[in-house]
Amino acid sequence: MIIAARNLSKFFDVKGVKNAKIRAVEDVNIEIKEGEIVGLVGESGSGKSTLGRLLIRLIEPTSGEILYNIPDKELDEFDIALKNKDDNAIKKIVDKYSITKLHGNELKKFRRNVGIVFQDPYSSLNPRLKIEDIIAEPIIETGYLKGNEAKERVLELLDEVQLPREFSYRYPHELSGGQRQRVALARGIATNPKLVILDEPTSALDVSIQAEILELLKELREKYNISMLLITHNISVVSYMADRVFVMYAGKIMEKGSKNDIIKNPEHPYTQALISAVPQIKRIKARIILKGDPPNLINPPKGCRFHPRCPVALPTCGWTADEVKPTLDYLIDTKYFTEFTNANVEIKNELELIANNVDINKLKEIINIEKENYKPLLSIKDIVQENGRVALKLYQYETPELIELENGREVECLLFSPKNKAS
């Protein structure tokens, strides 16, 4: 693997609010092979850019490991060591491959091996520098080449991205958006890196120019066997470019697999919704429309982060009392208000609610009828009479983990856990 991450997390501080954290990336495992293009898809705000920046140490992880250029065998050993909490074995591999502790010259050397291209070619090029100096920056700063050799390399790179050599003396504002993105690309590959992060590299460009840039990326991959992490929210870009695809939602990887598997046969309910939203010539499946918005990452949903929007959520997918209460309130105060007087519901703890002034049988009956319409009600396990009040006990939720299916496909969803599969 050119790069692999294990239990990688990044929590951002919230300005002005103590102890609140934006959990932008949490407990993520990924791996990218030599020369492969991996598409990273997901809605905006799902943590794609943060993950990309983490991988090349543009931001520091809160926890987790990033292993660079690690042979598959040793990555397997590392996974086993993590599972067995074998600290010695973990340390041995971390010392050899981890980039999270690099500094000084070691870090510079790593920077030579990685590159990044940003979405907006207007703000990603310093308007006060000539194209030559923009492209030369990583060459010189990482000590890759100096002086005339660096200059020569810049001209070579302009050829590589199919821009005239004269452009080296121009300023960014003299170039069109597509030309600027080519310059950004030349900078991204300037030191002949093994891995390039492409953060929505075509989203800011005209459609006609998008295709040219994608074509160029493909060519560069063929020629230099560069690994690429292609971050995008555009499924058609992924389906054109990627070998494999990672699907991200609310800071977590939901599904990983080969491009064909993911696009033709998505397994995860979120991926299914994502793919079904893409207009296709031949519509195979009905469009799944997700209700609601992506969750707030300061206090993300428990269990599976997708459960509040998941059309097939199970009783154990992560429901908690604070999600059940609004539904019960609505039923008691509005929909069936004629059936109750002075009834109310309070939260006892994460997994238990108390209903006052209600008839237990009536409540049971209503919940049974409405279960189909209101997913949170599914999570009610028992309804019992306790000290003259009615206690509603919820199922203990589970947190799904990435489960390996066939063909290197991995899915993070309880539907695929062995226990639920059996039933």
Partner: protein, 298 residues
């Protein structure tokens, strides 16, 4: 296509800048007026002998006829009390106002930039402390500070200058900080970090050059306000010596004749306002020049 040579491109940059500036007609008008003030100040400061003034650094009173006279062939702008020819006096007065404005605005901007950049560069508590100090100084009214400093250091031009620099730098510190903070968020800074560029180099190679032009624009916009302030101080009698040619002081000379001889106040007052207006228009033109969108329109 240009030749592969750095020179023509610099030249083209300059040409483009001029094109942008000159396409803004009111900015050109502002520049022309500004240049009149500038040459006036330049000649009086360095080559006063080429002008027919016996006392270039003093007002020449005429106690034989002290009452303000209306504009006439002999006195195109009229005279003010005590018999001072206004045209002469205005030509002499611009010198002090012009240089004093520059002497206040430039040190103020430099202090402000240094403080602002240090604050953004280090961030954290250093930023916090510097900005708190800035806010405190900023909240002191300039008049109060000028009078206090005049009281301590004596009522001289120097103490007035010091007071105004002290009052003005926080404006630039705040402004420089907001500009550098904004620049810091642009992705080319992140690209530089990804390229392995050190923080200090990022500060000087990427952030400073991109923050200077807006600060420069702010300076040119401020020159007018500063001249207004200086004149206001002079008007209320802050100048160390009588007879010193200064526009605010000159305006105050006509104060007692506002009803019978309004030109004695209006004409020198107009020259203060005209300068403020001119540098504002000119500053707008500079703002266009540094705006990449305006550049690419041409």
């Amino acid at each position: 296509m240009s030749k592969s040579n750095a020179k023509p491109d610099r030249f083209r940059e300059l040409k483009l800048s001029l094109q942008v500036f000159f396409s803004n007609k009111s900015a050109v008008a502002g520049l022309i007026i500004f240049l009149f003030y500038f040459f006036d100040a330049l000649i009086l400061q360095f080559f006063p002998q080429i002008l027919p003034f016996k006392h270039p650094y003093q007002l020449t009173p005429n106690y034989a006829n002290p009452i303000p006279q209306p504009p006439s062939f002999k006195h195109p702008f009229g005279t003010t009390y005590p018999g001072v020819d206004l045209l002469n006096a205005i030509i002499k007065s611009i010198r002090l106002d012009f240089w004093l404005s520059l002497e206040i605005v430039i040190p103020g901007a430099i202090i402000g930039l240094v403080v602002g950049i240090i604050a953004t560069y280090f961030g954290g508590w250093i930023d916090e402390v510097l900005m708190r100090v800035t806010d405190i100084v900023f909240s002191i009214p300039y008049l109060v500070l000028a009078i206090a400093i005049g009281y301590v250091l004596g009522r001289t031009l120097q103490s007035m200058m010091i007071a105004l620099i002290l009052v003005w730098w926080p404006l630039y510190a705040r402004y420089a900080r907001s500009v550098t903070l904004e620049t810091k968020e642009l992705t080319f800074i992140e690209a530089a970090r990804a390229a392995g560029t050190s923080n200090l180099k990022i500060m000087f190679k990427h952030i400073l050059p991109n923050s200077l032009p807006p600060v420069f624009v702010q300076i040119s916009l401020d020159l007018g306000t500063i001249m207004l302030t200086i004149s206001a101080l002079a008007f209320i009698g802050f100048l160390p010596a009588a007879n010193l040619p200064e526009l605010g002081y000159l305006t105050s000379l006509g104060y007692n004749y506002i009803q019978t001889a309004p030109w004695a106040m209006i004409i020198p007052g107009l020259f203060i306002v005209l300068f403020a207006l001119a540098v504002n228009l000119m500053g707008d033109g500079f703002r266009d020049v540094i705006d990449p969108r305006r550049r690419s329109e041409l």
